[in-house]
Structures are given as structure tokens and as C-alpha cells.
């Protein structure tokens, strides 16, 4: 299992555009990718779930990767998030 702690930087939180970027990247990997925030959990392979988290600027979202290609997925999600 790998974990990545991400602090939301987008001033509008995880709205449609940033959520879709996570969703597209997550869809490329077999491992499970879940995002946790405020006692909620979102399957990153569901756009609706990511947007439904309601994470806002400054919130820390924890991404957990579990499965065979978790390393690759971890670096991929990190790279799209850190670019923003």
C-alpha cells in the first residue's frame, strides 16, 4: 500500500476540472485508488465520488493506492497533482 497526502491548492477546491484530472489518471491503473477526507472515502475511478468529497482549498486529502501497479499509479497521480 502506498499513500500520498495532498493539500488542495485550487482556490475552488476539487471541482469538476481538477476532479476529472484525477479520475482520468486513476482510470489508467488496475490498483485501487481511494481518496480520504473528513471521514469520507472516494473511489478515484468515479468522478462523482471525487467531486462529492467536497474538499476545499487547504484541505489535506489522503490518496491510498493498493494493488500490483500501485507504485506506478502513485507516481502518476502525484505528478498530475503537483503540476497544478
Amino acid at each position: 500500500m502506498k499513500e500520498y497526502r495532498y493539500v488542495v491548492e485550487d482556490p475552488m477546491g476539487l471541482h469538476a476540472r481538477p476532479a476529472s484530472i484525477i479520475f482520468i489518471e486513476a482510470g489508467k491503473y488496475m490498483c485501487s485508488i481511494e481518496a480520504y477526507w473528513d471521514l469520507q472515502k472516494a473511489d478515484c475511478k468515479s468522478l462523482l465520488a471525487i467531486m462529492g468529497l467536497g474538499a476545499k482549498k487547504g484541505d489535506e486529502v489522503v490518496f491510498r493506492f493498493e494493488g500490483e501497479d500501485e507504485d506506478a499509479a502513485y507516481y502518476a497521480i502525484r505528478s498530475v497533482l503537483d503540476k497544478r
Partner: protein
Amino acid sequence: MFETLKKHLKRGGGKREEILAPVQGMAVPLSEVNDPAFNQEILGKGMAIIPSKGRIVSPVDGVLSVMFETMHAVSITADNGAEVMIHVGLDTVKLKGEGFHSFKKQGERVKVGELLLEFDLKGIRGKGYDLVTPVIILNTMEYPNMKCHVGKQIMELEPIIEL
């Protein structure tokens, strides 16, 4: 194979489910929406409506699964499983809720035709925003035969998408 058949039967066999128009206006294909997130169907397949009235009603019976704080977009999970997102205008997230009023909270049950949002059509357009409103099925993969009705003026609650 049986799984797909079962799914098909569960959905009432030949009868397709309909998503109704959440807003009155001109129905256009997503390809005419000037934003790659929508015109490249990154968020999913669907269509868009150029609104002629500043109100959004629920297109289905279901649960309001997302209500952004900025009120520029909502998503409803229909009782039949379809995840419908309504995104009022392009880049309207930047308005931070200005010109929008919401009537329901995230997590609440909604009935088809119930008022979800009102927005200041003239005011928002006046600020230079494109108010074209994509209606997207987020779980597109589950509906390979989706059909959208575009290229005409539509009234609120007219059928726009067949799943």
C-alpha cells in the same frame, strides 16, 4: 453474457430510461461546447443546453449527490443508477457562487422537476461568461447505447437523453 442480459432485464427490457431537460433552451451537441473537458467527453457523454431561463430543475428522481459550494454545478444520482451532472456555464466556478442560488443541499432526495438552482442569466452573461450548460452522464460506460436529442429548442422537462 448473463450478467448483461440480467442488467438489461432489470432496466425494464426494451423500454429505455429518459433524462429530462433540467433547463429550458437550445439543445446542442457537446462538440459545440467550447471547453475540452466537455467537448472531448472527458467527464462523460451527454449534451448541452444554451439556457433561455435561469433555473435548473432535477432531471430525474434521485439523490443530490453533489452540490458544489460555488453552486455552478450539481450532480444527481438517479434511482436507476445514472449519475447526471449539470454544469451551468463554462469556468463559472470562478464566480464563487455570485449570481447563483441553491434550493437543495448535497445528500438530499430530489424529485424530477424540483427546483435545484436559480441563476442570474443576464448578469452572468454580462460578465462575459458562456452559459452553455452541459448535461453529462458521468457513468457513461454503463450506457453504451445512450441517445441524445439535440438541435432544437426544448422546454424544461422535455426528454433529452435516452439511456
